[in-house]
């Protein structure tokens, strides 16, 4: 029966990881704009310049 305690604690910690992921997603602003990313994913990125991803500063408010 002891295994059940272990399983429950394990499952709850997995769930906590997902909760943490959700909190991170909200805090990083992923819920602020739920429309534009759906458009952005359709763009080709082949001609992007080299400095595209080098400096991206995060903006949290």
């Amino acid at each position: 029966m002891g295994v059940i305690f272990f399983l429950i604690l394990f499952s709850i910690s997995v769930a906590l990881i997902f909760l943490a992921a959700f909190i991170w997603a909200v805090k990083s602003g992923q819920f602020d704009d739920k429309y534009t990313p759906s458009v952005r994913i359709l763009f080709d990125e082949k001609n992007s310049s080299s400095n595209n991803k080098t400096q991206t500063s995060k903006r949290d408010s």
Binding site: M1, A15, D33, T36, R40, S49, N51, N52
Partner: protein, 810 residues
């Protein structure tokens, strides 16, 4: 002042520069470079770029244009526009109303290809907002704004924006609260399952019970402390002000649920109701998120600050300097160009200019002002640039005074209590009454159970479903309305819309279309050749009347002649010659001067443009405002059930045209100043009439804000509109009656779902009073009632909308 007009004016289809060699095709380019860019864009389906503005690719070449953005060098201005800054990078966001398609997103997010100082661009499409990260060593704010303007995306920089930062539509912490509640709800439900199924394993019962109990308490604490904090705080605030809102019974339920469950688990008498507790908060928060839904990109609370520009060109020692309008003081000399707004009351210094006051007065005809005339803030300059002398500071101007009017400020007194708030005192008292009575009865029958019954009643009577009815019905109705071009500021607006009995229309721009005037020629009919002459003459003028005549004639397929000579006398008229013919078009005095004799014009009211060909008077074009499509029918239907009024800042030239719709002339009021409009709406409100005001311009702003429900009519929902409760797309005005009826019907749906949730409450009370409220019953009953309400309201509103012929899918 006389001015010669360039006769041939073919411009490049890409950059708007003049073209030397004209070609047969529709498209002309000044250089191969422009042609390449054009084809590049057209091959990639980016041609909508050219529809954005009248002159795409406006270049900021001359120094005068450059000065426009000089104020962006100013440290104070920069500080307000830049969100974040360190030694190397800075972040700044701009509102760009021109963002209107996915290509715009593409172009703006690839700005680093046009300016290597830009590191990253992120567009929020719905808010029409661009956030840029840029390298302060390589570029500055001014260059970026100039670049944006060059490619046709001029940021909307106004005083308003400088003064306050906007708020997020759905606050992030609401999502977090929902997430925490959902997490706990799911897990507690899982741990309570053995209890539901009565799976008590004989040997290790106690260990499991304690283990699950402790876990449930641990999971429920964040829900109580964090997720439900808004409800508890709101209820506490209401009680300390000796009032009761819907949050009071909700909070009683929350506290009863938590307290009872905690007691049961700690005392070992039961499993508690933590699953119901977490589920209850979870559903409530979903309702709250639905309620908070707003229309991003629309602005409902604009005041005069968002209309005025940030900066203006001031002349200091003969040199033009760009300064913030706030720093202007009496006696300063300023320069305004075509299409710019006058920031403060001034005295005109140039010889003459044309000013469009439609923004503040609603009068559709631009007026001509001469040297020394006073001009008022809010007017828009049309034509050449003009110099003026500031006579009042911005904060003391006519426009600003209008805004500071007492009536406008006192809008808080309007009662906006919702149905749910109105019934909650009765509901709360009834629930507490039932709880006490059943407690007393059980004290008599079986005293040990009395406390259990008391808390059970409080738990089960918790108005979760009741609290969800209004947000879900109105949320769904608001969505449907927005699909049909009617955007509400907040979902509670539907309730106030339902009580309307009086409708006040503004005339200019609301029921008449200011873009389309009816043009009729009065006088002996014109021959084809006469029309050609007139067309040719007016084609080269920028005056709004010339443009109107020109576009009307163009519809008749009048061909163009090439005149030998054209001359425009500003504010008076236009004169041209072609072979032996001389054409004069303009005001009465202009024609009398050029013909050299008095002329007899028709006595009809309204605006006229007179025509003379070869010094012989031929007649005049009369401008009459045209009603919007479907407005006649709309007024016909509305007058059956509503008291209709018309307010107009314009003169009475359309009175006879409109009187048949407004029960004679008594309900029509002309030549109304903005403050008269405000007073009129107020006088109706004082007679206890619920006034709905529909207007479009700044001149209606006071009346809109003071009415029970103000609707701003807008041709472009993305462009500005005065403070109001809702924005209506002008194309949908004809369907307004249907939209109004739908709003009223959705209140009926709320009432039905109130009834439904009361049925659930009574069923629950039966279980509670008889002492049969097991955790299982609570766990089924509470989510079931919430889900029933959500499903019922969503389907009922959509069904209703479909029956009424409204769009229900995007």
């Amino acid at each position: 002042m006389k001015e010669s007009v360039n006769i041939k004016r073919t411009t490049c289809s890409h950059c708007g520069e003049p073209v030397d060699i004209e070609r047969d095709s529709e498209l002309n380019f000044c250089c191969t470079g422009c042609e390449t860019v054009y084809h590049l864009l057209s091959d990639n389906n980016l041609c909508t770029y050219y529809d954005l503005v009248d002159s795409p690719g406006t270049t900021i070449k001359n120094s005068l244009e450059r000065k426009r953005f000089d104020y962006l060098i100013d440290k104070d201005v920069q500080e307000k526009l830049i969100d974040f800054k360190n030694a190397e990078v800075a972040t700044s966001s701009f509102n760009i109303p021109n963002i209107h398609c996915t290509s715009c997103v593409w172009l703006l997010e690839n700005l680093q290809n046009l300016n290597d100082g830009v590191l990253q661009g992120t567009v929020n499409f719905l808010k029409r907002k661009l956030t840029l990260v840029f390298d302060t060593r390589k570029t500055d704010l001014r260059s970026i704004v100039e670049l944006l303007t060059t490619i046709g995306y001029e940021p909307d920089l106004t005083l308003h924006q400088l003064e306050e930062k906007e708020q997020q539509s759905i606050p992030r912490d609401l999502w977090l609260k929902l997430g925490v509640a959902g997490f706990s709800f799911g897990n507690i439900m899982l741990f309570s399952f053995p209890e539901y199924l009565n799976m008590s394993v004989s040997d290790s019962v106690d260990t499991f019970k304690v283990f699950f109990g402790v876990l449930n308490i641990l999971l429920a604490i964040p829900v109580l402390v964090y997720s439900s904090s808004d409800y508890l705080k709101s209820a506490f605030a209401a009680i300390s002000q000796k009032g009761i809102n819907l949050d009071v019974p909700i909070s009683i339920g929350i506290v009863a649920l938590f307290g009872r469950s905690l007691y049961e688990i700690l005392s070992g008498t039961g499993a508690g109701y933590f699953d119901s507790f977490a589920g209850f908060i979870f559903f409530l928060l979903i309702g709250k998120i639905v309620q908070k839904k707003t229309f991003e990109g629309l602005s409902f609370d604009r005041d005069y600050k968002s209309y005025l520009p940030i900066s203006v060109l001031k002349i200091v020692n003969g040199i033009e300097q760009s300064v913030s309008v706030k720093t202007l003081s009496v006696g300063n000399e300023i320069v305004l160009r075509n299409n710019e707004l006058i920031p403060c009351d001034s005295i005109l210094q140039s010889d003459s200019t044309i000013i469009d006051y439609s923004f503040i007065t609603g009068e559709s005809t631009p007026v001509t002002k001469m040297h020394g005339d006073p001009v008022f803030a809010g007017g828009r300059i049309m034509g050449a640039q003009s110099k003026m002398l500031v006579s009042k500071k911005v904060v003391h101007s006519y426009l600003t005074q209008l805004w500071e009017n007492d009536g406008i400020k006192s809008n808080e007194q309007r009662d906006h209590s919702t149905l749910a708030d109105r019934i909650s005192p009765y509901f709360t008292i009834t629930v507490i009454g039932i709880a006490i009575i059943s407690c007393l009865i059980w004290l008599y029958i079986e005293p040990s159970k009395a406390f259990t019954i008391f808390t059970a009643v409080l738990i089960v009577a918790c108005p979760c479903a009741l609290a969800l009815s209004a947000p879900f019905t109105f949320g769904s109705a608001t969505n449907i309305l927005s699909l049909n071009g009617f955007f509400l500021k907040d979902i509670d607006g539907i309730e106030s819309l339902g009580t309307i009995d009086t409708i006040v229309f503004d005339k200019t721009g609301t029921i008449t279309d200011s873009e389309k005037a009816n043009l009729t020629f009065i006088g002996s009919p014109l021959s084809e050749f006469d029309k050609q002459l007139i067309y040719t003459t007016t084609r080269n003028s920028t005056h709004p009347y010339s443009k109107k005549i020109c576009s009307t004639l163009k519809e008749e397929n009048i061909s163009d002649l090439s005149p030998d000579f054209i001359e425009e006398v500003r504010g008076k008229g236009i004169h041209s010659s072609y072979k032996d013919y001389a054409v004069h078009i303009g005001s009465k005095s202009f024609l009398e001067d050029s013909i050299g004799s008095k002329i007899n014009t028709s006595k009809r009211p309204g605006s006229h443009v007179h025509i003379a060909i070869n010094y012989e008077y031929r007649g005049s074009f009369e401008f009459k405002n045209k009603l919007r499509v479907g407005v006649q029918e709309l007024i016909e239907i509305l007058r059956v059930n509503y008291d209709l009024h018309l307010l107009s800042g314009d003169n009475e030239k359309d009175a006879d045209q409109l009187s048949k719709y407004f029960k004679g002339t008594d309900n029509m009021h002309f030549n109304q100043s903005p403050s008269q409009k405000l007073d009129f709406v107020e006088s109706l409100s004082n007679k206890n009439q619920k006034v709905l005001m529909i207007g479009d311009g700044l001149n209606d702003a006071g009346a809109l804000k003071n009415s029970h429900f103000g609707i701003a009519l807008s041709d472009k929902t993305s462009s500005f509109s005065p403070a109001c409760d809702a924005i209506l797309d002008s194309k949908e005005l004809r369907n307004f009656k249907t939209l109004l009826d739908f709003s009223k019907d959705s209140i009926g749906i709320v009432n039905v779902s109130f009834g439904l949730s009361l049925v659930y409450n009574i069923t629950g009370l039966y279980f509670a009073i008889t002492g049969h409220l097991s955790p299982l019953v609570a766990a089924i009953l509470m989510p079931l009632s919430s889900i029933t309400i959500m499903v019922f309201t969503t389907f009922a509103t959509r069904l209703k909308a479909r029956k009424m012929g409204l769009k229900i899918w995007a």
